[in-house]
């Protein structure tokens, strides 16, 4: 138990819980066939929502570090980001399997014609290099370009929120809420940049 006195372990545990617990919950629903009247839609909506939540949680770590002064927030950021990417990939895989039956022709058609699909797919694509270069090795190899590259998370998060918004028929409360949270998280960065220009040097964090 001595190990748990180290705060980083608690932060890690929290991040694993945030990313993994919903997966266990979803797996349990699948195993007990409790997915409602439209199981595919249920899985698509739930994996989509958790993708967005984890993406926003990842983006919340930098402001959280500033507010709390805890460096652990930054230390679990990558873990949360990778969980977010895993969820997005699962979300995409379910759509590919049950909506398209892995037809690339159908995917190409959807990408051209369905703007919300285009947005969601773009978000997934933008985040792919981030997931691939998330290791320390890549971080060292790319140096400042790594920081630059990982700013792709901002457009990806905006696209992900719009993907949700454009899907809805008339009641936009839920996607608007996620868009609002994202706006706050992004605004927190802008405000900071204005106040402390020194922070804009190389080590600028997100």
């Amino acid at each position: 138990m001595a190990a748990f006195r180290r705060p980083l372990l608690w932060w890690r545990l929290a991040a694993w819980t945030l990313g993994g617990a919903p997966l266990l919950w979803l797996a349990w629903r699948v195993a007990t066939a409790r997915l409602g009247a439209n199981p595919v839609e249920f899985l698509e909506h739930q994996t989509g929502l958790w993708s967005l939540r984890l993406l926003l949680a990842t983006l919340a770590m930098t402001p959280l570090r500033r507010l709390s002064g805890r460096s652990e927030a930054i230390q679990v950021r990558r873990l949360l980001g990778l969980w977010a990417y895993a969820w997005i990939t699962l979300h995409f895989a379910i759509y590919l399997t049950f909506d398209l039956e892995w037809s690339t022709a159908q995917l190409a058609k959807d990408l051209v014609k369905r703007s919300y699909i285009t947005l969601g797919f773009s978000a997934w694509l933008l985040l792919l290099p981030l997931a691939l270069t998330s290791t320390r090795g890549w971080q060292r190899r790319l140096r400042r370009r790594w920081t630059l590259l990982h700013r792709l998370v901002y457009p990806a998060a905006i696209l992900a929120c719009l993907h949700f918004l454009w899907l809805v028929k008339s009641d936009v409360r839920e996607p608007a809420m996620y868009l609002g949270i994202l706006a706050v998280l992004l605004a927190a960065r802008l405000g900071r940049r204005g106040k402390a220009p020194s922070d804009a040097q190389g080590s600028r964090s997100r």
Partner: protein, 323 residues
């Protein structure tokens, strides 16, 4: 009310057991009422007859199902549990599961329907008087939502034409408009619907008079659950689901094409005609395929939802305008 959930594959659609207890009860009450009215009339020496002639099926043996027709190509009926818990009824919440949780606040009694516009017999008609003259029929129809999911439902009701003819539409009645109840007190979630309520729908008069156009007052042999549009709704099987308006309180015959809710909300996405057409996509998603609730993979959507007999209604019209 006891809700019996039938396993989807166990019972063929034609073998669904009706449970007309609710109707029988109402029939008994109605007959008591009529009897009392007749006695009263006799006492006054007045030979006033009830306004609506009762159909034999309703008077002789209670409100039983007079006829059954399977009109979904023999496809498996979707379980009641599915069709009563997965609903689009935005007045009771925009999530599919919301209406079955919140529509209990809908009061379906007393209920009346106001009929006006281009007709010779307008007026306000009580629900019982509206239903009583009609022999109830069960029809198994496919139902295709604009959101690309579909179900197969055994509806209980009567042809819309039979109802509309009672109000004697004039030659000026080119269209017929319908309106859903809108009561903020009974529908507290309606303010979040994003729609301009009351919900309105409409049909061209020849569409409304087509033998497939149906008024449903029940499903699966039982009275309609509130979330499915109690106490009466339209069932227009060749059109997207939102045309099948729920909980109707008003019928108006018009000379001009009436304003309809989804068309008004997003005209580029939802047309007036809204016929199911796999070749005409919704701007944001494909209509070529649909997911039948209960199935994992999608199936092909059929033109006019598999009811090609309505095609002559649209002869000479641009199919692109029929979305």
């Amino acid at each position: 009310m006891l809700i019996r959930i039938l396993p989807p594959s166990a019972v063929p659609p034609s073998d669904i057991t009706p449970e007309p207890a609710y109707y029988r009860r109402r029939e008994i009450l109605a007959r008591m009422g009529l009897g009392a009215a007749a006695l009263l009339a006799a006492g006054c020496g007045d030979a006033a007859a009830p306004a609506a002639p009762a159909a034999p099926a309703n008077t002789a043996a209670g409100l039983k199902i007079a006829r059954r027709s399977e009109q979904a190509g023999g496809e498996t009926v979707t379980p009641f549990e599915t069709t009563s818990t997965y609903n689009n009824y935005y007045e009771f919440g925009t999530d599919k599961g919301d209406p079955s949780r919140s529509a209990h606040s809908l009061r379906t009694r007393p209920w009346s329907v106001a009929v006006d516009g281009e007709c010779e017999a307008p007026g306000r008609i009580d629900l019982d008087a509206l239903i009583r003259p009609h022999a109830l029929e069960e029809r198994i129809y496919r139902h295709r939502c604009v959101e690309a999911w579909s179900i197969v439902v055994p509806w209980l009701g009567f042809p819309l034409a039979d109802l509309l003819k009672r109000f004697k539409p004039t030659s000026k009645a080119k269209y017929v408009a319908f309106e859903t109840l809108y009561d903020k007190e009974q529908m507290p979630l309606a303010r979040w619907s994003g729609l301009d309520l009351p919900y309105r729908e409409g049909l061209r008069i020849d569409e409304a008079m087509h033998p497939l156009a149906f008024v449903s007052v029940g499903m699966y042999g039982k009275v309609l659950p509130n979330q499915n549009g109690a106490p009466l709704r339209l069932t227009i099987p060749w059109k997207y689901g939102y045309k099948s308006i729920k909980s109707v309180v008003r019928i108006r015959f018009t000379e001009r094409q009436p304003v309809t809710t989804w068309n008004q909300m997003a005209p580029q996405e939802y047309g007036f005609y809204s016929n199911v057409d796999p070749a005409v996509d919704h701007p944001r998603w494909s209509q070529a395929t649909e997911r039948r609730l209960g199935e994992l993979f999608k199936r092909k959507t059929l033109p006019f939802n598999g009811y090609p007999e309505v095609a002559p209604l649209y002869a000479g019209m641009d199919p692109k305008k029929l979305y």
